[in-house]
């Protein structure tokens, strides 16, 4: 029996006659009648979800990042191993815990016992892991999670919560990720889900909901940090015969994947936040606008919407409150600018994604010219907590930036993934404590925050607290919370050029400053990285940057020069090297580097010759003086060389020199 089904014929909950105590009944029921049998049935359903009904529960992360690192093969191997052994086990597909560096990640739990976490599990390692765990040896695990009555940190294995990756984390939106099965609504309900919705519909007026969100200090997690409660209030106050509530799941910032992770791992939390928001503003219809490239996120959200409709949490007269609300999941067709509110609205209406001048803001005239609120996935995922346990949210963060934020750590860092930490955590804590510092013993060069509209910050800003105002004060932005670490092998000018290439291609072309200005900036940067730049180029970049910031129509154009302006300010020496010495200190800019063979290291294996896609390597007999023998040795023809670096990457003796 599913936890969501009727316990017996006495339960009168149905689509036509929804029960207002439905959720409370599933969590501590039954409520309308006293029956020991029903009580036991519901308790058993809950226990089965919370404790597992089998001797062993094996959870494996099957989100996009898990799948990319081979969790499907690990899953198949686990399935085979467990059934081969005849163990009474339940194999669960869960969302991602945010520890991308350890994917595929497997958690094995004995009923009522310690769970053990195993990282980077491949198919070959599966039999050994299962054998060891069953025989009571968790010494090979990455971490253990103690349950009631078991030893803490046995066999010298660290506790999960005390891993450097987890120590500073404070989980709110990601609380269920990696724990619940995202495809099952009853798992979310058993873990306390939809209680906030029930409370809102049964006990609170829309204005009270808005006040709660306002006083908790929740700000938009999509980038700009606008107070969420205020946004709702404007929309509630606006006049219109229909209102719309949109969830922005068009996560487009390269380097940010927190929305994907939240919606893939715990889609019902996002949906619950969305329904509460709709109730607060008075909307009867909503959209979840999902990025097309993130197919699994869309699929999980659609499954969640289906389940919520089936159990009466969407549709007419939700939980008997008289409130009607339904949702469509719409796939974006792929355009970065769709993340801008008015561009998103244009897309839903079947137009090219072009922003328009604001005001009027969507709160007064949005989708189909009706009052509309658009909130980001992560913003909405905070909402249920604000209703049920406001304290938990407000306890952390800074005075102006309350609560937590999920940051995505990627680039040249030891541990990559998504970490949820209190706002105000410093960049140093995030990169060096949680992320474990720069990978491969390289030197830290810069950190890029906030995606294409953000900035590149140097070492001196590492103690900057991550909150909306602090980042803005140094020319960057919070953005969606992507944190990309660059090391000494990354070229700063190339990074700026990369972002400008991105925004130039993604500019919708409506306003002149963005359409033409970005192209000009990109040309100047290309000139510099090609070794053709002059000092005047720098002042031109500054003036173009200022013009865009002041005149572009939307945030895409206004913020696009930030990567250039911040790198010029904080890394002037890199620009000087490209302009004056015509050299790229990191050996990245292709026109400023060359490849050659170091004869003393070359063993003549011919791999570089075989793998050169440009046929630029000759492999001919030469006389080697040191060995006094004739052997084949490669030489690179600089005229043909495409500088792709494949010889450099493939040489087993590191005999290819890049300079």
């Amino acid at each position: 029996m599913s936890l969501m089904d009727k316990c017996c014929e006495k339960c009168s909950n149905s689509q036509d006659n929804p029960c207002k105590n439905y959720i409370a009944c599933r969590t501590a029921g039954p409520i309308c009648h006293d029956d020991a049998g029903c009580k036991a049935k519901l308790a058993k359903s809950r226990e089965r979800i919370l404790q597992g009904q089998n001797d062993l529960v094996v959870r494996i992360g099957m989100s996009t990042c898990g799948l990319a690192s081979g969790s499907q093969e690990a899953y198949n191997a686990l399935k085979k191993e467990l059934s081969g052994r005849g163990v009474d086990a339940q194999l669960m597909e869960v969302g991602c815990m945010g520890m991308c560096y350890a994917e595929p990640l497997v958690e094995i739990t004995r009923r009522g016992g310690t769970s053990a976490f195993y990282g980077k599990v491949n198919a070959a390692a599966v039999p050994k892991i299962v054998e060891a765990y069953i025989s009571g040896d968790s010494s090979g695990a990455m971490a253990v999670r103690a349950r009631k009555g078991t030893l803490r940190g046995e066999d010298g294995v660290p506790l999960f919560e005390e891993l450097p990756w987890n120590r500073r984390q404070y989980r709110d939106v990601m609380a269920n990720c990696g724990i619940v099965d995202p495809n099952k609504i009853d798992e979310y309900v058993a873990h306390g889900g939809y209680r906030a919705l029930a409370k809102v519909l049964n006990e609170m007026k829309p204005d009270q909901v808005i006040d709660t969100v306002k006083s908790a200090g929740l700000r938009g997690r999509g980038g700009a940090g606008f107070p969420t409660g205020l946004k709702w209030q404007f929309c509630r106050a606006a006049k219109g015969d229909a209102k719309y509530m949109i969830c922005n799941a068009d996560e487009g910032d390269p380097g940010a994947f927190m929305n994907r992770l939240t919606a893939e791992g715990d889609p019902h939390r996002v949906l619950e936040g969305l329904i509460i928001a709709a109730y607060a503003i008075g909307a009867t219809h909503g959209y979840i606008f999902v990025r097309a490239e993130k197919g699994l996120m869309a699929k999980r959200l659609m499954t969640a919407v289906d389940a919520a409709q089936r159990y009466g949490l969407l549709g007419d007269n939700i939980l008997g409150s008289g409130f009607n609300f339904d949702v469509d999941v719409m796939l974006s067709a792929g355009a970065f600018v769709c993340g801008e509110e008015t561009a998103m609205i244009a897309t839903i209406e079947g137009n090219r994604a072009m922003p328009r001048v604001r005001p009027p803001y969507p709160a007064t005239s949005g989708l189909m010219a009706k009052p509309t609120t658009i909130n980001n996935v992560e913003t909405l995922a905070h909402v249920p907590t604000l209703i049920t346990d406001r304290e938990y949210f407000t306890k952390v963060g800074t005075e102006k930036s309350k609560g937590t934020k999920v940051f995505c750590l990627a680039g040249k860092v030891v541990r990559t993934g998504a970490a949820e930490v209190p706002l105000g955590t410093s960049l140093r804590q995030l990169i060096f404590e949680i992320g474990g510092g720069v990978a491969n013993g390289k030197k830290f060069k810069a950190v890029q925050t906030g995606g294409p509209s953000g900035g590149c910050l140097s070492e001196k800003f590492l103690d900057l607290p991550l909150d909306y105002e602090s980042l803005q004060s140094v020319g960057s932005i919070m953005g969606s919370g992507g944190i990309i670490v660059l090391d000494e092998d990354n070229c700063i000018v190339d990074t700026a050029k990369y972002f400008l290439g991105f925004t130039t291609a993604e500019s919708c072309g409506k306003c002149t400053p963005c359409r033409i200005g970005l192209k000009r900036i990109h040309e100047v940067l290309t000139r510099i990285t090609d070794g053709q730049g002059t000092r005047e180029d720098l002042s031109q970049l500054e003036s173009l940057g200022a013009t865009l910031g002041n005149t572009a129509l939307c945030a895409l154009g206004q913020g696009a020069p930030n990567p250039v302006l911040t790198t010029m300010k904080y890394f002037p020496e890199e620009y000087t090297a490209h302009l004056e010495q015509k050299s790229c200190p990191a050996h990245i800019c292709q026109n400023l580097i060359s490849y050659s063979v170091q004869p003393s290291l070359c063993v003549g294996c011919g791999l570089c010759y075989k793998n050169c896609p440009a046929d630029a390597i000759k492999f001919e007999e030469v006389f080697d003086e040191s060995t006094n023998a004739v052997g084949k040795r490669p030489t690179i023809d600089p005229a043909k060389c495409a500088r792709c670096g494949s010889c450099y990457a493939i040489c087993p003796k590191h005999a290819i020199i890049k300079e």
């Binding site: 996009t64 990042c65 799948l67 990319a68 690192s69 991308c100 994917e103 996560e251 487009g252 910032d253 390269p254 380097g255 940010a256 994947f257 994907r260 097309a292 490239e293 993130k294 719409m330 796939l331 974006s332 067709a333 792929g334 355009a335 970065f336 839903i348 209406e349 079947g350 137009n351 090219r352 994604a353 189909m368 995505c408 750590l409 990627a410 680039g411 040249k412 990559t416 993934g417 890029q448 995606g451 992507g482 990309i484 660059l486 990354n490 990074t495 990369y498 972002f499 991105f502 993604e506 919708c508 793998n611 896609p613 440009a614 495409a642 792709c644 670096g645 494949s646 990457a649 493939i650």
Partner: protein
């Protein structure tokens, strides 16, 4: 996966039929134009791209000017107006992938497939190379996708191995 329609079987009647059936599913969108992008997505997922005939039929059925439909089709990355190869290789060009060298991987891949400037599909129709802004698996950068299969931490030697795998499958 739904069975792909081969180019040979793609007559104008067949295209009209596909567009018509998508139209029947979305004609009640309110306003009707809001069903346009979803309709085009469905047609593309069946045919593999949007042939001119499909756009013309859409225009006729939805009573939207062809110029508007063409505008939408050319604006979004998802829509293609030319046929695709048998396998779609998608290279992620997000920031994390960029700093881990995905630009070089793209160059290498295009060279290995002998693709000329402006081309995205190999002569033999086996591969189409596309780039994507960000696949959101940044922790495993650089990342690429062949059809629905993900490859993380891709290196230069990997690329040859992956390509050969698909080549030998269709040989």
């Amino acid at each position: 996966m739904r069975k792909k329609i081969t180019m040979e079987s793609l007559s104008k009647e067949k295209i009209d039929e596909i567009v018509e059936s998508a139209y029947q599913r979305h004609k009640h969108s309110n306003p009707m134009q809001s069903g346009l992008i979803i309709l085009m997505q469905e047609v593309q997922s069946e045919i593999g791209f949007l042939p001119r005939e499909a756009l013309e039929k859409t225009s006729e059925l939805m009573d939207i000017p062809l110029s508007h439909i063409y505008g939408v089709a050319t604006f979004f990355h998802q829509f293609r107006l030319r046929p695709k190869g048998k396998h779609i290789i998608t290279v992620c060009r997000g920031t994390a992938c960029h700093v881990q060298g995905s630009g070089d991987l793209m160059t290498l891949l295009r060279q290995s497939l002998r693709l000329k400037e402006g081309e995205d599909t190999t002569q033999d129709g086996l591969f189409t190379v596309m780039q994507v802004r960000c696949l959101g698996a940044c922790g495993l950068a650089p990342i690429m996708k062949v059809d629905e299969e993900f490859y993380g931490n891709v290196t230069a030697p990997n690329i040859t191995r992956v390509l050969n795998k698909y080549r030998s499958e269709s040989a």
